[in-house]
Amino acid sequence: MAATPIVRFTWRNCIIPQADTVLSFLAPSFRPVLCTPQTSIAQFSTSARRYARDPNRNRGVSALRHTGPRRRQTLSVKKEDLPKPVLSRKLKTPVKGDPQHGLWGFFNKDRRLIATPEEDLAHGRAWTVQELRQKSWEDLHCLWWICVKERNRLATEKITREQLKAGYGDFEASERDKTIKLTQRAVRHVLTERWYAWEEARKVARDDEEVDLTAEGEAYIPQIDMDEVELDEELIKDEEFAAETAEPAEPQHGRGRSGKTPQTTNGPIASTVTE
């Protein structure tokens, strides 16, 4: 036997009625409806169908399971409008590469796959530590990375030679690689040496009166020892000079130069005094 539908009445679904006198001039569509319940009907397996047709148009359609569209289902893309692949290699548009791409750094400047053994053999010796001691930080930094890039290029060519089964060229390339590694070792040695020398100098400077390691003011304030100041012999004979240097200047102590002294105001006299 068919069950009678149970009507559920909720106040939430009701619209509160308003006075007819106030809103009688309103259009019929705006006239309030008195307590119209919005019914919700319980569904059982034996209930009558709510819809004539299944409202879910994509029921059973799955891209993951490769089901394909339903029968007579229309999609946004039509089969006729789909682009056709170009199968012929000659008709394909050529791939444009960037000639300035950074990855070209892994290849030689002619952009060939591998270099000949003669080209790999044409190199000199590694830098010595003494030669690199004279170089600045910027030069050493650049040299290091030039070595890195060259070794990268050699490593790429080594893999290419293995893939192509070239059979030769490995020995020359490995010798070149060893030389570059020696250069890199020397660069690292020089930088380490410099750091340790700086560290030792810092320890000596801690006890040095002329050096101020705090960041306030000048780091180096030379203390002029008047006994060590060398004077030009010709100038000593000059009478003007003799008059000006009548008062011996007091030796400078502590930070900064205190006032003017005859030596400093009258041009360069002592070769060892630095201004």
Partner: protein, 103 residues
């Protein structure tokens, strides 16, 4: 710093163990280095001071140096007359005073 589990490394030297073997208490690194710290809740907090950064000079194309020196150039040894060697702090300081002390 984590180290590989010592007893297993000592007694089973003939067996080249991998990271996937010998139970959960066996640790073997892969030479990649420590990049941070473990937490007791199983998380790993990266310590960016430990992470490597590589700084390349901007104008590498301008540098004309090559990794090699001509073979005919003789290798000269460094002469450290008046100093104790390349790492002499007093000599470094004196030279700094002469060349770079005052602007």
């Amino acid at each position: 710093m984590f180290k590989p589990t010592a007893p297993l490394q000592r007694n089973l030297r003939r067996l080249a163990l991998t990271t996937k073997m010998a139970g959960k208490d066996y640790y073997k690194g892969t030479r990649s280095g420590s990049m941070g710290d473990h937490t007791k809740h199983g998380r790993y907090l990266i310590n960016w001071n430990k992470v490597r950064t590589y700084r390349v000079p901007e104008d590498l194309s301008r540098c004309t140096l090559t990794p090699f020196v001509a073979t005919r150039v003789e290798r000269a040894k460094g002469k450290f007359t008046g100093t104790r060697g390349p790492i002499d702090g007093a000599a470094y300081l004196e030279r700094w005073k002469m060349e770079n002390g005052r602007d």
